[in-house]
Symmetry: C2
Subunit: 200 residues, 2 copies
């Protein structure tokens, strides 16, 4: 069974928003990917902003789901974080568009997001912060500290993963072949080092 036109449009839009950003992607460019006109897009979604919002909700739901799975996979918060970020690291290779959009929205879209005044990704952040605050500790992390920590992890993963194509181009593909492993180990180190510093 073929995908609905609507879903195909969403996929094409996600790809283009990921590679060029909200302003850089045009309705015509998205519709062209399927050989349709931009009016077909507008028929399905009403406006560019609503199309983008729908993509963001899919991204957010997907990420919240991944965090919850990781929380179920282990009872130790450290292992929950490791499980999530490891899964996430893998997901970014298969779903690099999703990762790119997530990153943009977290650090890079203040102007646009302020305008529409909606934060689709807050549920996702809240889930992660909740795990971080459950880390065993003599003095548990307050919300802001937990955010600093969670953001540093997201940043570390994103930076490596999203920029991989770039680095491959700059430094050659061969050198990056073993990096999934390397990065995975790096993430565990970051999490364990932080947990250790809490002295739980």
């Amino acid at each position: 069974m073929p995908l609905s036109t609507r879903q195909q449009l969403l996929d094409a839009a996600r790809h283009l928003f990921a590679s060029r950003g909200f302003y850089g992607a045009s309705l015509k460019g998205i519709a062209d990917e399927l050989g349709l006109t931009k009016q077909a897009l507008l028929h399905h979604f009403g406006s560019k902003e609503r199309l983008y919002a729908e993509i963001l909700s899919q991204v957010s739901d997907s990420m919240v789901g991944r965090v919850r799975l990781a929380r179920q996979a282990a009872s130790d918060p450290i292992e929950q974080l490791v499980a999530f970020f490891d899964d996430y690291l893998g997901a970014m290779n298969e779903e690099s568009d999703t990762a790119q959009i997530l990153m943009r929205e977290l650090v890079d879209n203040h102007a646009r997001a302020d305008k529409v005044n909606t934060w689709y990704l807050r549920p996702f952040l809240d889930e992660l912060v909740a795990i971080a605050r459950a880390l065993p500790s003599r003095s548990p992390l307050d919300e802001a500290e937990a955010f600093a920590f969670v953001y540093s992890l997201l940043g570390a993963v994103h930076y490596f993963s999203v920029s991989r194509p770039t680095l491959q181009k700059m430094y050659g593909r061969r050198r990056f072949a073993s990096h999934r492993r390397e990065m995975s180990a790096e993430i565990r180190r970051l999490i364990e080092a932080r947990a250790a510093s809490l002295g739980g």
Copy 2:
């Protein structure tokens, strides 16, 4: 002595490119900040791409300078990294536009950068990688491992710093007042943890 029009245009352009990205910032929007027309901009820089290139090279030079200062400030590579990232963390508050543009260029501008096929920031990355590879170790980092490490540090710093306005809006200003300290300590932890894992 007032700044030259040219420099004022560069400053306005940097600000707008930082907050809206290459595609989202328009020549008219930049020129309007000074009450000039976009043709005044084009007179000084020729094209949007050349204007952006000039800003990128300022950013790159500034960052390379900061790394070199950090390298002179200490002989121990660990302390060089700590010095740089600590300086950088401070710089991002004063020069948040520069930081935002740097981030975009590192992770987010493949489409545009591929087109012009020029990497202004490679010298900056090379400087950092060189420090990372000088870390005392039984088996020194290869280039790719050094990159993973450097990127994780850049990612950690950027994520916290660039998104600070966002987080303040979401969670209140007060909670983030003490965070420069917190983040600074976090960065040192990350660097020392990695150095320790090398077993130098």
